[in-house]
């Protein structure tokens, strides 16, 4: 029997949603339709509120109370929740602003008369239990095909046990961190084939931190290359603002001491 899937898109650039639909309707991947039937939405009607789903793929991040309520409704109605993309998994670009500055921001863009419903989003796991995260910005079609194939064949979903550095080395890339660039590859979840460093762009951690990562060593590395705390904040703020390790570092719970021998 086909698995009943919903693809629910919160506030986003629609990149992950479009990639999902493109993969699902790819003529070379047509056999996947034997396993799934799918609906794609960004608001819940009465019909969805009373339906049951085997899997809900959530992309984007919740920026309003209304979207948070939709998330909770979907959790109630779904056996499994998969967070698709950086926004849903780790907050992404949208979670950059500080909440206390949000009203100032809204006034800046819309003027005083506008009442906004904007809440700085957190990863969806802050609001509901999530069964699997596929964090990337944007998601990669091959990785998605692998995920859908594994689900179709009831295989357990695993998280890659390596950092971006492994794939970077396999591709024969020159190490950006060693040449002084702020590359977060050593602490970022692998699986992207090191696409950014392979194009000479530092990894900014869009796939989220690896488990049990040596965060302190990363900070020491960056500091040794001349990056001060404010620079480091700018680097991590892009995608990793909500990660526990980064928050501990900001709160001063990770002590860094460097001895530089000249």
């Amino acid at each position: 029997m086909k698995k009943n899937i919903i693809l629910f898109d919160l506030t986003s650039c629609e990149g992950c949603k479009n990639e999902f639909l493109r993969v699902f309707h790819d003529p070379t991947f047509h056999y996947i339709k034997e396993y799934f039937k799918i609906q794609s939405l960004n608001i819940l009607t009465q019909k969805e509120k009373s339906s049951l789903f085997d899997i809900a793929f959530i992309s984007g991040a919740p920026t309003s109370e209304k979207q948070i309520q939709s998330l909770k409704q979907i959790r109630k109605n779904s056996k499994n929740i998969i967070a698709l993309g950086s926004c849903a998994s780790i907050g992404g670009i949208l979670s950059m602003p500080d909440q206390y500055k949000t009203e100032e921001f809204i006034r800046h863009i819309y003027g005083k008369r506008y009442t906004a419903s904007f809440i700085v989003p957190k990863p969806i796991s802050s609001y509901i239990k999530v069964d699997y995260n596929l964090s990337a910005c944007p998601i990669d079609s091959l990785e998605l095909k692998q995920l859908l194939t594994d689900i179709a064949h009831n295989k357990p979903l695993v998280t890659n046990d390596f950092s971006v550095c492994k794939e970077c080395k396999l591709r024969g890339n020159k190490c950006l961190l060693l040449s002084g660039k702020p590359c977060l590859g050593p602490i970022t979840q692998g699986g992207c084939k090191a696409i950014c460093p392979s194009n000479k762009v530092s990894c900014y951690g869009c796939r989220g931190l690896r488990e049990n990562v040596n965060f302190k060593a990363m900070i020491i590395s960056l500091k040794k290359h001349g990056y001060h705390k404010k620079d480091i904040q700018k680097i991590f703020d892009l995608f990793l603002k909500d990660s526990d390790e980064y928050q501990k570092y900001l709160d001063g719970k990770i002590k860094i001491k460097i001895n530089i021998n000249i």
């Binding site: 920026t63 602003p97 809204i106 863009i109 950014c196 194009n199 762009v201 700018k234 892009l238």
Partner: protein, 400 residues
């Protein structure tokens, strides 16, 4: 998704998209973050937003690039427009329940997949990735394709030329519902070339103004019950995108596109006829135009002895303001930034084409209802749905 509430002639378009406050997120970020952040406004237009950020910052810091950097950027813009147009054309024709399309759906679907994957490959080869580009930077490219790789791109394009022309001929021969709603068309303007990137904007009236004067000419209005801004020109709605570009620049088309345009516009009667359904006709001509443009620019780069990898230029930051306009599948994207002496963004303003088109769309829906009073309620709803499709409003850009 566009949700339209038609009650007593009051149009209230709502995409259910919530604001992303990107212009606020940019404040106090270093200038080099702008292309990374703004490409995430919208996946469909990510290349145009990314390049608009880069161009605006280069404008502020007075950075000049070599001609091949500009050429590669132009190819990127075109390589994003064509697949976006093709997807829109296909879904429009499906919605119009065109018998020929439904009969040959599998063939169309195969051709479209092949075409989209070719252009996706072109974007990836140059930008590293087709959504949220990697290699374009302020001051150059981190990496560029080799000459053999560019030759491969050219040959991949040749392989799909027959299919592109076939599709363009099919999509440009459709009939459209009645609608006539005069409006101002705006597009970027170059002396001899069909619009891609430029610092000049031209109106259908013939008036022109510079990118630097965009905010003096295009005023954004806010509605208290909506997260979107509505762009106006002299207080009125106006239109951007394929129909606007073609209406103003048809004499600058490449040969095959010009041939399709001249042959196909006969059945439209008058052109431009201020019928926004003709946006579909314009897109089908542009599919060939931008395909020819990419071929032409690729050939120029391949033949250029000076094409070689260069390091990104050293950037000197200063207190400055910069502006840029670039075309996307939906129309002109405008970015402006104020930078501090250390290169931090202190102010950002972004106007997307859908900020204009949604307002013009509302005006068109009113006109459509007035001019088609003899239709049943279902027929009216179908017409409005088709018009939504013809516009292809980008809700992600709208709610930036």
């Amino acid at each position: 998704m566009i949700d339209i509430d038609l009650q007593k002639n009051k149009i209230n378009s709502n995409t259910n998209d919530e604001e992303k406050i990107i212009e606020a997120i940019l404040i106090n970020r270093p200038y080099y973050d702008a292309p990374i952040i703004t490409s995430r406004i919208c996946a469909n237009c990510s290349i145009s937003h990314n390049l608009a950020s880069i161009l605006a910052i280069e404008n502020a810091l007075k950075i000049k690039n070599d001609r091949n950097t500009t050429r590669l950027r132009e190819i990127l813009v075109c390589s994003q427009i064509v697949p976006s147009h093709i997807s829109n054309l296909y879904s429009y024709v499906l919605d119009s329940k065109n018998k020929n399309l439904i009969k040959g759906k599998d063939t169309f679907s195969k051709k479209i997949t092949q075409i989209k994957s070719t252009f996706d490959h072109i974007s990836r080869q140059i930008a590293g990735r087709s959504i949220h580009p990697l290699t374009p930077q302020v001051g150059g490219f981190t990496k560029i394709p080799s000459r053999p790789e560019l030759r491969t791109l050219l040959s991949k394009l040749k392989n799909i030329s027959e299919d592109i022309i076939f599709l363009a001929n099919f999509f440009s021969s459709l009939n459209y519902p009645v609608l006539s709603n005069p409006t101002a068309y705006l597009s970027l303007s170059s002396a001899t070339r069909y619009p891609i990137m430029s610092e000049k904007i031209e109106l259908s009236s013939g008036r022109t103004f510079s990118t630097q004067r965009y905010e003096h000419n295009i005023i954004e209005k806010i509605r208290t019950n909506s997260p979107y801004k509505y762009a106006t020109q002299k207080g009125k709605p106006f239109m951007l995108g394929a129909l606007a570009r073609l209406s103003i620049n048809s004499h600058k088309l490449h040969p095959i596109a010009k041939d399709i345009y001249k042959r196909s516009k006969e059945h439209l009667g008058n052109f431009p006829a201020y019928n926004s359904f003709h946006n579909i006709f314009a897109k089908s001509v542009e599919v060939v135009q931008y395909y020819e443009e990419i071929s032409s620019v690729l050939k120029k780069i391949i033949a250029d002895k000076n094409y070689k990898p260069r390091s990104i230029q050293k950037i000197k930051t200063k207190n400055s303001t910069g502006y840029a306009t670039i075309e996307s599948s939906h129309g002109i994207i405008y970015h402006s930034y104020k930078l501090s002496s250390t290169g931090k963004i202190t102010h950002a303003n972004i106007i997307t084409p859908t900020n204009a088109n949604i307002y013009n769309f509302e005006s068109d829906v009113k006109a459509l209802l007035k001019q088609n009073k003899n239709l049943s309620q279902k027929e009216t709803a179908d017409h409005v749905k088709l018009l939504t499709n013809a516009y292809d409003l980008c809700s992600s850009c709208l709610a930036h």
